[in-house]
């Protein structure tokens, strides 16, 4: 009797592999905890990455692993695509990048389920035979089929939904809602019921690959049908929701494959993603059901054209030269950035301007509304990219009391987050949202291109306030002009 080679027998020992999986998911959890804190986030992300490495190694050590050439091929393709994409994406294009990465994750889940079906599908729908008090299980346990089919449907929805979200944000598709109108809801329902019916039939034992593919296609249509009618501005919430979906589908795959790392990693993403989606939605005064039901969140420009005519007040317009003088002689300036700054990629120009002002002894800070821009943290990421010192950034609650002793609030492409209607007009769609109280400062300069409204599609009384001056123009060029004018003072 010859002992098997120690290394391989020990390494391929199933308990050892299971323990590696435990180590891996402990690292994921530790990483996630890190990601939740500002000082620990970088390390948290890296810890989670190490966990992923451990999980992959454990899997490759599993007994019976094979087809190494194909594995290397798949991984190589993935690295070749993923690394450059991640390295080169612009910070402002982050949301669509996350959507894309999320989509391929969902796609992987769906494909894995498909292969499971090709391999085990003929034993789906097995039954427990009982004979003389002894129970005999024949074929694959029903729950495996259930989890696998669930993963297929959700993975396919997530893949297609994420791709649509990507296309909208990348402006491959128009950002405005594309909807069937009143039939939309009914159609979504029909698609969902079709997908579920196909799933039940498969679980029940119908071994037809055509049916499985049909189910994937119906789920794909559902993913399209759900995301297409949603406006571009709601996309971050949708992406977060699809992220949670992909997590859940990964957990289901783990249940089907009896793999603890998949179960834990998928489920923590599913759970945390659900919470995160909720936090994002409430931060912008929206509810998840109303977002998924479509409407509202897209037609800013359209709705605005109507709204703009209604107001009776007058608007004071200013020039870059005047704005430069006003800023140069202020002792305290607060910059209020918004979506327009992101669109115009004006963050570097803004940083130049504030450096110039600081050189002249002006005290500068930035007031960041939690939902300024189109994703939480959007402004922080952009300003950090432009090297704005962290200690100049003020969260809303810290910024508001300071407006009273501010000479000039410089609002750059922000609109809704400064709209007093959120406080004063109960009928306003944004009523109740906390805002940055720029009207408390001694004077306000607003940089935007027109009188068009922002995301919420409503007009902003602030622009009719006598202390407000509008500087019309693209954020980046307007800010650069001010900087140029400053040199002449």
């Amino acid at each position: 009797m010859i002992a098997p080679p120690l290394a391989s027998s020990f390494l391929q020992d199933e308990s050892f592999i299971y323990v590696l999986y435990i180590v891996a998911f402990a690292l994921f959890i530790q990483g996630l905890r890190g990601l939740a804190g500002p000082t620990t986030a970088v390390r948290g992300n890296r810890i989670a990455a190490v966990g992923m490495g451990v999980a992959v190694i454990a899997t490759l050590l599993s007994p019976g692993e094979g087809n190494w050439g194909l594995i290397v091929l798949g991984v190589a393709v993935g690295v070749a695509v993923g690394v450059p994409a991640a390295r080169q994406v612009k910070m402002t294009a982050m949301p669509q990048m996350v959507a894309l990465f999320n989509g391929v994750g969902g796609g992987a889940v769906a494909l894995i389920s498909w292969v499971e079906f090709r391999h085990y599908g003929s034993s789906y729908g097995s039954h427990t035979l009982e004979a003389g008090g002894i129970q005999i299980q024949v074929g694959v346990p029903t729950y495996v089929a259930i989890f696998s089919v669930f993963a297929a449907i959700v993975g396919s929805v997530s893949f297609w939904g994420s791709n649509i979200a990507f296309a909208k944000l990348q402006e491959i598709l128009p950002g405005r809602p594309i909807s069937l109108g009143p039939f939309q809801q009914a159609m979504n329902m029909v698609l969902l019921i079709l997908a579920l019916a196909a799933g039940v039939a498969l679980i029940g034992g119908t071994h037809s690959e055509a049916l499985f593919i049909g189910m994937l296609i119906v789920a794909a249509l559902l993913g399209n049908a759900v995301v297409l009618p949603i406006g571009g501005a709601d996309m971050p919430v949708v992406i977060s929701l699809l992220n949670a979906f992909t997590g859940l589908s990964a957990a289901a795959t783990g249940m089907a494959l009896d793999n603890p790392a998949l179960i834990v990693a998928g489920m923590i993403v599913g759970a945390s993603g659900t919470i995160l989606t909720n936090l994002m939605a409430t931060a912008m005064n929206r509810s998840i059901p109303s977002i998924v039901a479509g409407g509202f969140g897209g037609g800013g420009a359209v709705a605005g054209a109507e709204g703009a005519g209604e107001h009776a007040g007058t608007v004071r317009s200013t020039s870059a030269a005047d704005a430069a003088i006003q800023l140069a002689y202020a002792s305290r300036v607060v910059v209020v950035p918004g979506y327009g700054m992101a669109v115009a990629q004006a963050q570097h120009a803004v940083r130049e301007l504030t450096k110039e002002l600081e050189a002249r002894g002006v005290e500068v800070s930035y007031a960041i509304h939690p939902v300024a821009g189109r994703m939480p943290g959007h402004m922080n990421v952009l300003l950090a990219e432009a090297d704005v010192p962290y200690d100049q950034l003020r969260e809303m609650d810290d910024a508001n009391p300071e407006f009273q002793r501010t000479d000039v609030s410089l609002v750059i492409g922000a609109n809704d987050v400064t709209n007093p209607a959120a406080k004063n007009t109960p009928s306003s769609p944004i009523y109740g949202m906390p805002i940055l109280e720029v009207a408390d400062s001694r004077s306000v300069i607003v940089i935007k291109r027109s009188m068009n409204p922002g995301f919420a599609g409503i007009e902003n009384e602030l622009y009719f306030d006598p202390k407000t001056a509008m500087l019309f123009g693209d954020a980046k060029s307007a800010v650069s002009e001010i900087t140029a004018e400053l040199a002449n003072i």
């Binding site: 905890r33 970088v42 391929v104 793999n259 603890p260």
Partner: protein, 127 residues
């Protein structure tokens, strides 16, 4: 005394993991939402493991193998891209040494290249 079946123990693990997800996230500052979405997005790239495991099945047909190669590539993109992009985002939150020669020339569409450059610069000089 042994109550466990594969399904029930995995259910227990699922429930515990769900709680962990809920509890950890209930206290995240607003500004970290985007990196967090991106980081968790990378974590569910764990589905890669499913593709790797199934590659070990005996008697896979050519079409199944092709599907699995795609699944592995997709999973790898999700993992690698997700972690890298999160890292880049988070690096931006740190204070960095001011890059030399950053004049008003360095504004325009070159934002992406400069972003990455800034990150590496930061890495090199951080203590």
């Amino acid at each position: 005394m042994i109550l466990a079946s594969v399904l029930t123990t995995n259910l227990a693990i699922l429930v515990l993991a769900g709680f962990i997800g809920f509890v950890v996230i209930s206290k995240v500052p607003n500004t970290l939402h985007t990196p967090l979405m991106s980081g968790t997005n990378a974590i569910h790239g764990i589905v890669l493991l499913g593709g790797l495991l199934l590659m070990g099945l005996p008697g896979l047909g050519a079409f199944s193998k092709a599907l699995l190669v795609i699944a592995i590539a997709f999973g790898t993109i999700n993992v690698v891209g997700g972690f890298l992009v999160t890292d880049r985002m988070l690096e931006m939150f740190k204070s960095k040494p001011k890059p030399k020669g950053e004049g008003s020339a360095g504004e325009a569409g070159g934002g992406s290249g400069r972003g990455a450059g800034g990150e590496d610069g930061g890495k090199g000089t951080r203590p």
